[in-house]
């Protein structure tokens, strides 16, 4: 379900990769969670991630859930950001057989979900191969 109110609430993290930084221990946090997972201190200071990282693992989805049929097959990945945290996203601008663990990637903003032909389009981060 791609609700307009939800898309709006998540806009900073989805469009610009805004997470948080823990003022106490310095941990960079993404997705934002308001309590530091490392030291459990409150952490609500915004922090913009560089969008660079590498592929920790990946898979190509042949049987998509409802709402993603028109994108299949597509490749998803766990991406380790250079600041430390990991996130889950789709890969783009790359053939599935070219993806490998450790591949350098960078964030781009793309359409990530639609609700039917007339429905709301949600935009957000995907990752593509990065040179050098």
């Amino acid at each position: 379900m791609s609700l307009p109110s939800k898309n709006w609430r998540l806009r900073n993290q989805r469009y610009r990769l805004v997470g948080e930084i823990c003022e106490k221990c310095g941990a960079a946090i993404f997705p934002p969670r308001d309590v530091c997972p490392e030291c459990e201190a409150p952490a609500q200071t915004p922090y913009v991630f560089s969008g660079r990282g590498e592929v920790y693992s990946y898979s190509t989805v042949y049987h998509p859930p409802a709402g993603f049929e028109k994108y299949a097959p597509y490749t998803v990945a766990l991406v380790r950001l250079e600041e430390g945290p990991m996130l889950t996203a789709q890969l783009t601008d790359v053939a599935p057989e070219e993806v490998h663990i450790g591949m350098p990637v960078e964030m781009v903003t793309r359409q990530i979900q639609t609700d039917g032909d007339e429905g709301v389009i949600a935009y957000g981060y995907k990752f593509r191969p990065r040179m050098g």
Partner: protein, 385 residues
């Protein structure tokens, strides 16, 4: 705290039950369990279920099932913890009897999944994952497990076909379970040819969407001691949690909640993994079986697959798993699975497992996993003679 025994078990065949809905499935399992226990009344009913609202438009299963079963007036609630809902319901039943708040408690796990289309069921199951940060990006449950399996193969140097023994063992055992969804032998060749769902996970690595219900009746162990029948005691009941999203875990290849839950259970039962005669693990996907074996202390890190390759997970092996078919062959009606696992452990400890009987089984463990490892519930049952 009082010792709690399982005094009755019941189950429906797992499969596609066109003619039965949630009520009928629940009724069939709970009547069988009450007959087996020899009870006509219960003090409370806990119903484990994950997706009744999403897939059938019906919530409020506590009252619904109680009413349909002629138990009107009884205390009854639905319990939800994703695919761990069945064991979560058992956990609450155990707490009620152990704490002396109820004497006879009925626990039912039920799921009705086959009225929905494939994509609908896939989307519904994904609700166990992080909606905003996993599912919104097109992740399915299979895909999340595929990410773990790919990384596991990369870190430990396994090939895809090394996972085949989990599937082959489960289906070999399912052949002898009349309640199992599938009765088909799987060969290594069939495994290698199976259709890819989310690579490297193929159809035979995955458990099927299914309908089914299973039930147990709990009572104070003292009630049944000296009755001449074997007393199947719940020696441990332990729940642990982890992050819902895989990417938030320190090391995604370690199921921390599974380890926590298992070790809490060992402590309660005052045993170690070496004393466990069989382990009904949550093999929703082959990779989950490997990670569960490692988390529960049956294999070192990266050696869960090795254990299967060495033949140690069959009924004759060191630690038999999926002894009645597991989630793959018996089937995975998600909210019912945790109760099926425990019913099967009871069958083993009573010596009623037929061709799949683990010789002299006295200590059995069941571990039910919600999501990709976010809720893990372990029960240890011991036969006292």
């Amino acid at each position: 705290m009082r010792d709690v025994a399982i005094i009755g078990i019941g189950q429906t065949k797992v499969g596609e039950h066109w003619e039965k809905d949630l009520r009928h499935l629940s009724l069939e399992a709970l009547q069988a369990a009450m007959r087996d226990a020899g009870v006509e009344h219960v003090d409370a009913l806990y119903v484990g279920n994950m997706l009744s609202g999403e897939l059938t438009g019906q919530e409020h299963l506590g009252a619904l099932v109680a009413d349909f079963a002629g138990l009107r007036g009884v205390e009854a609630v639905k319990v939800e913890a994703a695919c761990g809902s069945g064991a979560a319901a058992l956990r609450l039943g155990y707490v009620a009897v152990a704490g002396g708040l109820a004497d006879v408690v009925l626990v039912v796990g039920v799921e009705k999944m086959t009225d929905a289309t494939g994509p609908e069921a896939t989307a519904a199951l994904a609700m166990a994952a992080d909606a905003d940060h996993e599912v919104a990006h097109g992740l399915t449950f299979v895909a999340l497990n595929a990410l773990l399996m790919r990384r596991y193969m990369y870190e430990y140097g396994y090939k895809k076909e090394d996972f085949a023994p989990f599937t082959i063992n489960a289906h070999a055992n399912g052949m002898n379970n009349p309640y199992a969804m599938f009765h088909m032998k799987v060969t290594p060749e069939a495994y290698a040819r199976a259709r890819m769902i989310a690579d490297p996970i193929n159809l035979l690595d995955s458990s099927p969407v299914a309908d089914g219900a299973a039930a147990v009746v709990l009572a104070p162990a003292d009630w049944v001691r000296g009755s001449g029948k074997p007393v199947i005691r719940i020696a441990a009941s332990a729940v642990a949690t982890d992050t819902v999203a895989i990417h938030d875990r320190r090391d995604p290849l370690v199921l921390e909640a599974a380890a926590l839950s298992a070790w809490r259970a060992y402590q309660q039962a005052d045993i170690g993994p070496e004393e466990v005669d069989l382990f009904e693990l949550h093999d929703a996907f082959s990779i989950m079986a490997a990670l569960s074996l490692e988390a529960a202390g049956f294999a070192r890190r990266g050696e869960g697959v090795r254990l299967a390759l060495d033949g140690e997970i069959t009924p004759q092996g060191r630690i038999p798993v999926a002894t009645m078919g597991g989630l793959k062959a018996r089937g995975h009606p998600v909210g019912a699975t945790g109760v099926y696992q425990v019913v099967e452990v009871v069958q083993q400890l009573r010596g009623e497992a037929g061709a799949n009987q683990v010789p002299d089984a006295r200590v059995g463990m069941a571990q039910n996993i919600g999501g990709s490892g976010a809720t893990v519930i372990t029960h240890i049952l011991i036969r006292d003679c």
